[in-house]
Symmetry: C2
Subunit: 273 residues, 2 copies
């Protein structure tokens, strides 16, 4: 198996990003670039342990997550991360991160993977940054502050452009029903990039069609970025989206350009499951 030859650019960070979040993002990007320089595709994708979320962890994830944990420790904030799990540094601030969202893409060389980080204070998400690792493009939002992003505003599923997770089996029927009602369907295999595209109005919605694959770090950045842009984030079964150190919890997240579209997607999926 060969190395991925493409460069990993520096992240293009807005000037007002929280310093801890900026540090963690830069550390993640640097570790990601180094991992791709040193390891070939097979080594990046090798499953080297079971992560804190209970699923096998690729070498690439570990390398990036370790760099992010060092950044969190240096600033004495807590960390909640897909692979390493929960680190309690006794702070009111927790950094919630998906070190490499779209790991399968990233390890194979499909240029759609992201670092996503959220600053939560006493469990409430306050600021989010999603960095598209292959290009350095970043989406940033702070709860309660205006953002440059506006969703498409679309309210109806019929004719919408929808991104989905690939069908997982239990959700096949719901997956197909959404696909047949949408005008366009994409599977980019990076939840955080797909959510950012909803926030900026490039697509109308992104959903897990009921497979309960989403962990909180797949949705945390969207929970800040998408409502600030006029959209909505919810769970198909109405379970509250909560930042929780218990990483065995799962959701079927729906990220949409409007509350009406999010609710129509959720009810359509629930009926079909």
């Amino acid at each position: 198996m060969s190395h991925i030859p493409w460069p990993v650019p520096e992240p293009v960070l807005p000037s007002d990003v929280d310093p801890v979040l900026a540090h963690a993002t830069r550390a993640a990007v640097r570790a990601f670039a180094e991992a791709r320089r040193v390891h070939d595709r097979a080594a990046l994708a090798e499953k080297v342990q079971i992560g804190a979320d209970g699923t096998p962890t690729m070498r690439l994830d570990i390398l990036v997550d370790t760099a992010v944990a060092e950044a969190a420790n240096a600033h004495k904030v807590n960390l909640l991360s897909e692979e390493i799990g929960s680190i309690d540094n006794g702070s009111a601030v927790t950094l919630v991160v998906d070190p490499v969202d779209g790991t399968a893409n990233a390890a194979a060389g499909v240029p759609l993977s992201a670092f996503a980080g959220v600053v939560a204070v006493d469990g409430v998400p306050k600021e989010a940054l999603t960095c598209w690792l292959d290009t350095g493009r970043c989406w940033h939002a702070v709860a309660g502050r205006p953002t440059p992003y506006r969703t498409s505003g679309r309210r109806e599923l019929d004719g919408a452009a929808v991104s989905l997770l690939r069908p997982h089996g239990p959700d096949d029927n719901a997956w197909w029903r959404i696909t047949k009602r949408a005008a366009r369907v994409r599977i980019l295999s990076s939840s955080c990039i797909e959510a950012a595209l909803v926030a900026e109005g490039s697509t109308d919605a992104f959903a897990d069609a009921g497979s309960d694959t989403h962990r909180i770090m797949d949705l945390a950045a969207a929970m800040v970025t998408v409502p600030a842009a006029g959209g909505a984030v919810l769970d198909v079964h109405g379970r509250p989206l909560e930042i929780d150190p218990d990483l065995t919890r799962r959701w079927s997240g729906v990220v949409a350009a409007s509350r009406e579209l999010a609710e129509e997607l959720a009810s359509t999926i629930k009926e079909a499951l």
Copy 2:
């Protein structure tokens, strides 16, 4: 509807690209950047005429295709293009182009669209360039010369990573059968980028699961780039892939990391149709 705010970088062209192809690529990128600067998403996506291929043409396509035609005329080569159709400048050389592959992505702001150009001499494709418009990343190959790309070499569908067009109706059954046998499925909605990812070994295959959506310009760059990297390009029904000014012709293209995988995909799709 809002403008797409992201920059369009200059293409990163290898030094040995055919000068006509290089000129056409630069012209396409410049026109694409200008179109996004001037027009909002709705205006880019507006269907302003019926293209030479018989399908509605978006404003974005026309703007880029016009710039490419000017480049072809300046060099007195023939042009075969999705929208404008066939221009005969009495040359043995024909530039076969998809000015904006993934137009729906490009007009909406989903950052997966490409310019793809092929230099054909007396109808035989000799050189191909695929330029990912959102990043400037280019894939280049010349028939008969070594390329830096190697496919994954994968020979079996079971467990493969496969990109597909979204299901179109007549191909639903075949689409689903491929999805259930592959380990990973993606729908990136840009045939030329998906083919380039097969060439470089980032994914194992890309297919139209029998919907006969592909025109020759969706496959022409792959016909040079993928075999040079060890893979294969064919049609589900075994129809020869030919550069033909008759743009009503359609194929169900299969682009795969090996001939074995291409044939298994084609026969699996054919049985399920």
